[in-house]
Symmetry: C2
């Protein structure tokens, strides 16, 4: 759900991650009750199923198949014809998205809806070539959004034709972040399969030429600016402080010890990666700046940026070591809120449920999302968007070059008015809102703004600390769902009437 | 334009064709004036250009490119902003479609429009792997409608960004037959790129489970039934006569001589292919049953089925040899109207401008179009639709199996009401109208019926012998074009206004 911000922004392409764990493909029943993030205590219970998908929907040479995992909850489903809410899985383990999309669980009963959570190919257990899926460019060739959408389309068609009572069920796509982009695109490309889509925090315009490349980091900076006095200013100053301190061997050692790094910084050349990790940390905090204690990318306190900024509220000039002590305390809010981390691991900034390497490949092929910083309107070191350098890095890593214009060509860019029935919800605190749809396009392509919301807050469980804006957003979303379903049923009745 | 009827219907998959001629890729200026089929004498003059396309739009492993041919005529184009009429090329040489789509040439001036005719990959000169394009399944892997649509999308985007004055030009897709399917699908999948589509004689519902498999041949039969007394009945009887006569060596020799075959029938086993060729001949006649002399699939007289049926008007029972003499005379109307054919070639039934082998591959992969005959409601030998046998034949020929449900999943089948601005025109004489959209779906998904029309008659040049129905159809099409363009310009003005 993270869209793994800095993977897209950094030009340090030597990202390392252990190979994805390949779990046994077996049916299982997973039951979970409540959860710290659920104030409503809605029980989550689903069946885990597997569907045989073609590895290649767009060619006939590769005729192999793989097992796509999907989760089904039909406790409240009113058959025949009750709606299906279909989560268009994004870049990670589908059970994690399932557990973090309380909104769907909370509205299922009201709608008599079946919930389906479909895993995105190449993530979680849905690996087209099993343990070899990430072994080389050849095996990665079928990791595209178009293939994933085709998986979803084929899966929904299959569910509707095999589940007794589902044949005429209206299907609504729901997704957050990249999953939200997929939900929107699913409606755009397959409107015969989904009657509408809720695309939460979906930066469908974060592509070349559509929005200014610096807006993303401006929003991150604003979040810090308003969460503590001088908080953004001190982070802006920290980069130079790191440069200064790391110029000596003793400084490097001090930094490693101060931050409690699992792998100590050995030379000046490790500093780029270290700063990158810090930058990613600030971005992640902006994404998950929720008003209550939550565990999404990491376990965190309520309004975590405020908690972080308590350590970064120096006014005026402070010595480098002093400033960096504050930064290290701040990072520990993010990485060690529970107090159980023996050391900080700079090779990872968020939950292992996300498939970093897969998203890295996608960003290096069709999901080209320009980002830049200037150090003035944002609190980061200046870095221009350099497509050529990015492309060269991708080519070195994957033997594939990004196609900068393709996403705009295939998904329409800013010219999407011909489509219908899509809600684009965005949080004002969420840096990804920079690339989102923040105004109504037509009367059925709706923008919902949640000023106090971070990354897809509306998809999370209701919470006593939810701001009124997200409560209103969810109520509006529910209204649209009712409207779409009612319209779909009317159309269906009219077509049945015609047949007789 | 042919959709090569019998390739889809026959289970004799031992189709033989010489390898496609690979022509040199060079820019040329082709000029043609008038033509027998043009009563208006509109001069055709275009530039031939080539655009570098990715071989694979949906994967990044194959990063090669090829030259897609396209033709441009901008004599009447009113820049900036004049509309672009974009022919979505189908399974053949684009110059042939260009020369047979007089409608576009005739309306260009009225609209101040630029005409573009884009060749479909794997046909004509647009060969992704040059002379190797058809060498094996591996090279054929990128021959799909999705790849072709992506070519069109990328090409239009490129034209609009590189042609001075074209940036805000509304684009309307136009196509006939499979090209009409592509025009409709282009609007469905890329509505941000084309503001509307004219899909003439486009059987977008000729896929499994959408229309009865026998309707196609019923229409062929009706065409013959109403074009001459007992004409359909005599063709129905001819199959048994062929079986009888071919049971002896002298009978085989007689048949070969009577029909003037280039390759004499040598044994009983040649008879299946011979009957198949005849069946294809009757189908082709139904497709091109135009009211005036024309040269589309073959040079033919006005109302060619009436000309054919003059030889097949026996009432009551006639001897086999007598009946087959009539059949042979009838075939010569189709194959030797000009009198210049030294012999009849049963390995080909239509113009060499069509890419038979390419379409055969497409029919064997995603363009699965069930056909069947019962010998009662149609004049052919009974043959059920046997998907398994079809699939086995495809697998033997191409090492690929058809995916029966895919076209419905990806293009929406009968559930296309969410789309807009598509005209589906169909001719009542055209067997492909069986799989077409023959009723209005919404007020912007329009059906136009041309009762006296054969295959995409509306796309042809106007002719003094045009029935009123096709004149009315063209007038309506022009009205919709104006409406779409006006609306697009209004939307554009509104968006410019918003920016200022």
């Amino acid at each position: 759900m993270g869209l793994l911000a800095t993977l897209l922004t950094t030009f340090v392409l030597t990202f390392c991650l252990g190979s994805l764990a390949v779990r046994a493909l077996k049916s299982q029943l997973f039951t979970r009750r409540g959860g710290s993030s659920s104030s409503a205590g809605i029980p989550i219970s689903y069946k885990t199923l597997y569907f045989e998908q073609k590895i290649d929907h767009f060619g006939f040479l590769e005729d192999g198949t793989f097992k796509q995992r999907y989760l089904i909850a039909d406790k409240h489903w009113q058959q025949p014809g009750g709606p299906i809410f279909f989560y268009t899985g994004n870049e990670g383990d589908i059970t994690w998205f399932c557990n973090n999309t309380g909104f769907m669980w909370e509205i299922a009963e009201e709608f008599g809806a079946m919930l389906v959570f479909a895993e995105h190919r190449y993530y979680g257990e849905s690996l087209p070539f099993g343990a070899d899926s990430y072994s080389d460019n050849k095996h990665l060739n079928y990791l595209t959004s178009e293939q994933a959408l085709a998986d979803f389309a084929v899966l929904v068609q299959n569910l509707k034709s095999t589940f007794p009572g589902a044949q005429n069920s209206p299907v609504i796509a729901v997704g957050g972040s990249y999953g939200g982009m997929l939900a929107a695109w699913f409606r755009m490309k397959y409107p015969h399969i989904v009657v509408g889509a809720l695309a939460s925090s979906a930066p469908i315009w974060q592509f070349p030429g559509m929005v200014p490349c610096g807006d993303f980091y401006k929003i991150v900076t604003q979040d810090f600016a308003k969460s503590g006095s001088d908080c953004d200013k001190n982070i802006r100053m920290s980069w130079k402080a790191i440069e200064n301190v790391s110029s000596t061997a003793s400084g490097l050692q001090w930094l490693s010890e101060e931050f409690g790094l699992c792998a100590p910084l050995k030379s000046k050349s490790d500093i780029a990666g270290f700063k990158n990790w810090l930058q990613e940390t600030w971005v992640n905090l902006a994404m998950v700046d929720y008003p209550y204690e939550a565990n999404f990318l990491q376990p965190l306190p309520p309004w975590p940026i405020q908690a972080v900024c308590k350590y970064l509220s120096f006014s005026g000039s402070v010595p480098d070591y002093h400033l960096l002590h504050g930064v290290s305390q701040a990072t520990k809010v993010y990485y060690n809120y529970t107090g159980s981390s023996p050391c900080l691991n700079t090779s990872q900034t968020a939950t292992g449920s996300l498939g970093f390497l897969g998203w890295f490949y996608q960003a290096c092929t069709e999901m080209v999302m320009p980002m830049c910083t200037d150090g003035i309107q944002d609190m980061f070191e200046p870095e221009e968007w350099n497509f050529q350098a990015f492309s060269d890095g991708c080519n070195a890593r994957f033997g594939a070059r990004p196609r900068a214009d393709w996403a705009g060509t295939v998904y329409g860019g800013k010219d999407i008015a011909a489509h219908s029935n899509i809600i684009f919800s965005n949080g004002g605190l969420d840096p990804w809102s920079a690339g989102g749809v923040n105004h109504n396009i037509t009367d059925s392509l709706i923008s919902i703004l949640i000023p106090d919301g971070a990354h897809h807050l509306d998809l999370r469980y209701t919470n006593d600390h939810d701001p009124p804006s997200v409560r209103a957003a969810r109520a509006l979303e529910v209204n649209y769902f009712h409207k779409w379903i009612k319209h779909a049923k009317k159309i269906h009745r009219a077509s049945v009437f015609k047949l007789h």
